[in-house]
Symmetry: C3
Subunit: 138 residues, 3 copies
Amino acid sequence: MPVVTEYIHLSTNGHAQVVDVTPDVTQTLNNLDIMSGIVTVSVIGSTAALTTCEYEPGLVEDISDIFDKLIPQANYHHDQTWHDGNGHSHLRSSLVGPSVTIPFSKQKLILGTWQQIIFIDFDNRARDRKIVLQFIGE
Amino acid sequence: MPVVTEYIHLSTNGHAQVVDVTPDVTQTLNNLDIMSGIVTVSVIGSTAALTTCEYEPGLVEDISDIFDKLIPQANYHHDQTWHDGNGHSHLRSSLVGPSVTIPFSKQKLILGTWQQIIFIDFDNRARDRKIVLQFIGE
Amino acid sequence: MPVVTEYIHLSTNGHAQVVDVTPDVTQTLNNLDIMSGIVTVSVIGSTAALTTCEYEPGLVEDISDIFDKLIPQANYHHDQTWHDGNGHSHLRSSLVGPSVTIPFSKQKLILGTWQQIIFIDFDNRARDRKIVLQFIGE
């Protein structure tokens, strides 16, 4: 059973920007010789997160709003360490989590029709991001 | 090392109903020829989530209450897209996450005595659900 | 492809104590004969959680503060079942999640420089903890 490590590179503006990475994961899977297994989609860095949602403009706006409410931009102790004002970015990312694991079968991701794999960049500035796709299967 | 894909089918009333799926996962594992590995329990759809908790009636009520407080039913932008009033269901599901990965050894899930795998249906109506169990191991 | 099950044992004071388990996971991986794959780091028990963050004292304090705000210690229905006053510990743990899955390649965890695997003990008392490291790879 093979393990295959692939990467996605993307640029974001931060500030809870939501990116649908499903097309990238699907295309990468299609180019592999693995039919069935799991893919762990994991961000390198501590101010962004992975989960799933229905990717549509209204919900993307709601995601930004709800995190502004739950974990607002404010003066956190973290900012006393680095003075970069992104304490809220770290806290949001730890809460959502750095990776999501999705099963696949017959070389297709097992997701709902209105369920996409999303990358949320919670940092407070533009970032170039590297996301790992770790495929394990047979 | 085999990969085995199984499914659980269940019906819920939505509204943060919590279902203990541990018996289903355990029984499925017992029927397989895999002794050691991981199982990714993953919902198909974007208005439900998987995690673990101590499954007892008090905590089940607390889970419903805390999400009413954190992400209340309200008028979200998502509702302007579909008019189905379940924006909060989506947001809660993305926050908790669509899947949970549990290790097993000697054909037994490695969980605490008071730790169950729970499915939370956050939708605002009754749903028939399909949950994937992706076993990988040896 | 082998599956290897290892354990970390640690003692905490609870109350959202954050422990950086990255050195333990790294050292365990270095002693194995697996070069590439994933490790699922999973707590046994329902009052603690795993995620990643930048492990520095300011953020550790922020994590404690934000959970006091989001899910405060209070009188939950769970406390009517066990009378141990840790309803908030359970709710926080279910929200963050019991496990985190991290990819590795060339026998190195794929994490950012300022991204550590953290164990958060949300219980309201000192605990001895057992954490599973389930490695799958080749």
